[in-house]
């Protein structure tokens, strides 16, 4: 056994089709977590324009809200946050050892709820953008 062949880690995402519910939940949770961390920085940047006075802050917010892209990103942000919260609660249950046999169902439930809440929020976010 002089040599052995290492196939590396590349195959992992190559087999995404076979991923199970728990694996998807893990991937989505990581992804949404990083998006929220990224958003935190832009959030602080926008808020800190208030340091330059009331008018500057109002101006920044108004300009941002008039952009369609920002409106769409806001919907996306809501979806990401809602999923992260719901799946976070699911993970809390998992950590407490409650309902581990239903972990896949609770993941699907989080997904469906996220979808529903996001769709319901669209009119509010997009109102007046056009």
């Amino acid at each position: 056994m002089s040599q052995s062949y290492n196939r590396g880690l590349i195959e992992d995402f190559g087999r995404w089709r076979e991923f199970s519910a728990g694996m998807w939940a893990w991937i989505f949770h990581k992804f949404t977590g990083w998006v929220l961390v990224g958003y935190l920085f832009t959030h602080i940047a926008v808020l800190s324009t208030a340091l330059a006075g009331d008018a500057a802050y109002t101006n920044t917010i108004q300009t941002l809200e008039s952009l369609l892209l920002v409106r769409i990103l806001e919907v996306g942000l809501l979806a990401v946050a809602v999923f992260h919260i719901l799946n976070g609660m699911r993970l809390l249950m998992v950590d407490l050892g409650i309902g581990l046999e239903a972990q896949d169902k609770s993941f699907y439930a989080s997904l469906i709820l996220t979808g529903a809440i996001t769709v319901a929020s669209v009119p509010t976010f997009i109102a007046g953008a056009f």
Binding site: M1, S2, A25, L96, G97, Q103
Partner: protein, 294 residues
Amino acid sequence: MSTQVPKQKEAESPAEEESAPSVGKQRRDQAKAERRTAAEKQKEAAEKAKEAEDTYHIKVFRYDPEVEGKQEPRFDEFHVPFTKGMTVLDALMYARDHYDPSLTFRHSCRQAICGSDAFFVNGSQKLGCKTQLSELSEPVRIEPLPHQDVVKDLVVDMDHFYEQMHAIEPYFDPDELPDGELEEQRQTRENREKVKMSTRCIWCGACMSSCNIAAGDNQYLGPAAINKAYRFAMDEREGEARKQERLKIIEQEHGVWRCQTQFSCTEVCPKDIPLTEHIQELKREAVKSNLKFW
């Protein structure tokens, strides 16, 4: 494998005949002719099998570092005649016995008890002898377990897995022994029920192979080892002192806290052990023994 004399190797691998050292023209010619008829026979059998209605198409990962020309991993396809109740292991054995004797894989008990034939079948870790062909879609892709080094064909290096299993001291070790030499150490029914599932592990390594965390962190104990630790830590006969020692082992940096509850291991375990549940319970035990507010 390394003890093979070159001649045997030559006979096993028809493709290499040109590059093999010449042993004597006559013998070589004879061997060649023999091989050719054997190869023809094999081909005929394969074609016949392909034509017949009830065959299963399997694609098997091949790799052999010791034979030049087989060092590049590839897939070999076989058409195996299907019989009712045939498992993935049966198909591999058929392919080996009828088409290619050099096809290498581990197996022994054929009844999901020895744990030597975990493969990566159609994208998930399965026990060859416990997986019905009829449940799988064709072509059935059979690969060695991911995240472990491949030694040859479907054989992977299990050393690391065994090391992790031994790291948690997987043996019964009570604080106090009974006085009489032949006295039994009885366990309550409830306690037996609690550890029942965790005792079923057959050391197949499927769980470890399915775990992303174990893949990224080579020192992570892995689901099977933690499950073994659970089996003894939860055994009331061992006593409190031993339990604390066991908790020390599993709550190290590369112990239970690495688990991110992907449930991959629980999903693939052929013995249906609720691995994630056991890991979570040990996490709670570890917290309980460390957090003291009073």
